[in-house]
């Protein structure tokens, strides 16, 4: 029994390897859609999250501390709950139902953006706040204020901000709950790596699930390696 199970895993692994090696069209399509959805979500989250994080870091307004706590807490938002909320908003009867976005890649982008926005905003808030604490007096002494000070600080810590964005991308590409609910896992339309793995595993088609699992891990690994290398190179070059 034990040997048999090892055998079947091995067989599945070999079949998965063959799928990847032959650049199986289904597999390629699923991987491509996954990347398109997650990269779009990251771009949106960065566009909103970086300025938001910077504003909370240097701003002094009532409710700021509460906002920091909420933002930090929201880094751990359960994807299924985000999916559920976006589902309610986009469903026919929902407030945004008229746009007909439910079960489209756009819905998935929206859900993932909401999911990772707190990660990008909270991490960049921390980075900007630390840097601002260090730079503020020196910049004011030089006569640098307002937008120019913000640009100077953001540019100076751009590699830390890149790490914040990559953390968001890692989370987006690995989550399954949100895209499953709002995308519906429709073959050829909204099927991404994580939802396919969940479906194929329950159906017993292990090779495709395993193949996608390997690709997914490789992507996450590559992202983290890239983040590490970029940061290290920057550290060496700029101190």
């Amino acid at each position: 029994m034990r040997h048999l199970r090892m055998d079947s895993i091995l067989q599945s692994l070999l079949a998965a390897g063959a799928l990847i090696a032959s650049a199986d069209p289904t597999l390629i399509q699923i991987v491509a859609l996954s990347l398109a959805v997650s990269l779009s979500a990251v771009a949106l989250a960065a566009f909103i999250g970086l300025p938001l994080g910077a504003a909370i870091a240097v701003g002094r307004f009532p409710g700021r501390r509460a906002m920091v706590v909420i933002l930090n807490a929201m880094m751990g938002l359960p994807p299924v709950v985000v999916g559920l909320v976006v589902y309610l908003l986009l469903s026919r009867a929902g407030p945004l139902g008229e746009f007909g976005l439910l079960f489209t890649p756009s819905a998935m982008v929206i859900a993932q953006t909401i999911l990772i926005l707190p990660i990008v905003a909270a991490l960049s808030r921390q980075a900007v706040e630390d840097a601002w604490h260090e730079y503020e007096e020196q910049l004011r002494s030089l006569g640098v204020e307002g937008v120019r000070a913000a640009v100077t600080v953001l540019w100076d810590i751009r590699f830390s901000l890149l790490t914040a964005v990559l953390a968001g991308l890692g989370r987006a590409s690995a989550e399954v709950g949100a895209v499953m609910i709002v995308g519906g896992n429709i073959d050829g339309v909204t099927r991404v790596m994580t939802t396919t793995i969940a479906l194929e595993t329950s159906k017993g088609d292990l090779p495709l699930a395993l193949g996608l699992g390997i690709v997914l891990i490789a992507i996450v690994l590559a992202l983290n390696a890239a983040a590490y290398l970029v940061k290290e190179a920057a550290q060496r070059r700029y101190g």
């Binding site: 007096e137 002494s141 006569g143 100077t152 700029y238």
Partner: protein
Amino acid sequence: MILPLRLEEVAFAAGGRCIIQPLSMEIGAGLTTIILGANGAGKSVLMRLMHGLLSPTSGRVAWQGPEPRRRQAMVFQRPVMLRRSALANVVYALEVAGVPRAEREPQALEALKEVGLLDRAQRPARVLSGGEQQRLALARAWALHPEVLFLDEPTASLDPSATREIEAVIRAFDAAGTKVIMATHNLGQARRLGDEVLYVHQGRVVERAGIETFFKQPASAEAAAFIKGELPWA
């Protein structure tokens, strides 16, 4: 000319605690002024009030002439460098000061030469040693040709040889006609560089005197105790 600097009943409090007691004085050009006192006496706060990094809780800090902020520079105990080359850090200060693009680099190189960092121009500022970073901070100030230079314990975290190099640059500022105002608790340094002393004790300037007079015949008991190396509060 932005000097003389006038403090009119300047006081500063934070968190319900009075850090600088109401203070009036005039500081003129020429002499190097040392703000001397124990840790926590209020030296740094007093300088930040003069430089405008802090606003007084009451009273007024009055400089002469238009745009006095542009005619001052400050070097902090721990230099803050941007993540770019030593040269680019000086160029940045010149850019902020409105120096035309073509003149920035030659002026920055001249400033680096002045502090002996010409061979470090292309190195990332943040990988320079502590002493070199502090000299770079002085070069950044030098490039701006300030009328007044504030120094907040510039050698407090440096070894004796780096300290000597920093002191040489401070003398060059003085020789070039810049008014130097420096906070320190280092008596030897005060004596080497200063012309007059403001002795600060618990947020109050308890004594102002020429450097020789101050060390030979301090007028206040607190200053006398500090010079003798006794803790004033013991």
